[in-house]
Symmetry: C2
Subunit: 193 residues, 2 copies
């Protein structure tokens, strides 16, 4: 099921279609998980550290009124067929999906789509760097988890969830910083370079 934004503005395409829960950590100062990632990407871009962009939310256009300068009069939000973010860091292709959970003891796999799993498999096959950023809201901790680990859990685990302890062992914890709000490039360095 697709979730929709609670408000739509001129800058809609920069926003998530997913309502995200406000983080209360000092570092993020009330920004959503996604806003924090977007702000981090802006920071990386401005500093020339990396170029990671959010993919535009796909929209299924049904009707267009060409008498009024191509005004779209009927369209619907679609779910992303790939992942939320991709880009380049140190020449390497980067591709990731960001997920929040309010579960205390596990990360549920229910909100990961099969086509996302397949997309990330293809990225790995082509030698790209593929991962998930997982935000455990209750613990107030964020982890980078390599996509291959999630893919394995998706196909070979109980398909329902991954235990928090497992993420703690397998993932790279993102250390809190003020700016960028979520310094995941440091975790990429640790894991892949």
């Amino acid at each position: 099921m697709i979730k929709y934004p609670s408000g739509v503005s001129k800058t809609y395409k920069e926003k998530s279609v997913r309502p995200t829960i406000t983080r209360k950590s000092a570092a993020n100062r009330g920004m959503t998980f996604e806003d924090s990632i977007n702000k981090s990407n802006e920071y990386y871009r401005e500093k020339g550290i990396a170029l990671i962009l959010k993919r535009t939310t796909p929209i299924n256009v049904v009707k267009v009124d060409y008498t009024r300068g191509a005004k779209i009069t009927e369209a619907y939000f679609e779910k992303q067929s790939t992942t939320d973010y991709n880009g380049v860091y140190k020449g390497k292709y980067i591709d990731f999906e960001a997920k929040s959970t309010h579960h205390k003891t596990s990360f549920p796999l229910a909100n990961i789509y099969k086509h996302q799993i397949e997309h990330l498999q293809e990225v790995i096959k082509q030698g790209g760097i593929a991962f998930f950023l997982i935000d455990f809201e209750v613990q107030n901790k964020i982890f980078l988890v390599d996509a291959s680990f999630i893919i394995d859990a998706y196909y070979n685990g109980d398909r329902k969830s991954i235990k928090y302890e497992t993420v703690l062992n397998e993932g790279i914890e993102i250390e809190p910083t003020f700016l960028p709000p979520i310094d995941y490039i440091k975790a990429i360095d640790k894991k892949y370079f």
Copy 2:
């Protein structure tokens, strides 16, 4: 100025917003330049050669009717703020823009946007592979031209056009094949690997 599609279907998002002229070459059998690239990307993906995807056309959403399951009732096509395609090949980040011209003796720079130039500069800075695929319709020849060359011409040339002879010397000519219709990965191999 943004150009709009002449027809909008359910698969709209997979189509170009740019009306492209039908190529008459045997290899492409009436497909547009963009369709040929998309078909090549499908081929690369199916064969596990590369994963290159077309970016979704951004749409500026103005009004949404939430009483009817989030139906968008007013929205407009926007021009791409980056490039048409990006992806991964041999682990490297790939980013390119495809342009057709019916000019006989030169490639006009008028339809390259400044933000596209800036985007490609950032890609190069991050070590990514950035280029243009230029389709000279009259000559029925397609070239891969490194983005740095176009960027230099954009800033330091007469800013109007690049001569066909210059593209012939600087670019890598894509050799015609039946499938994929435009085998630009071979040109990437020649130029960057």
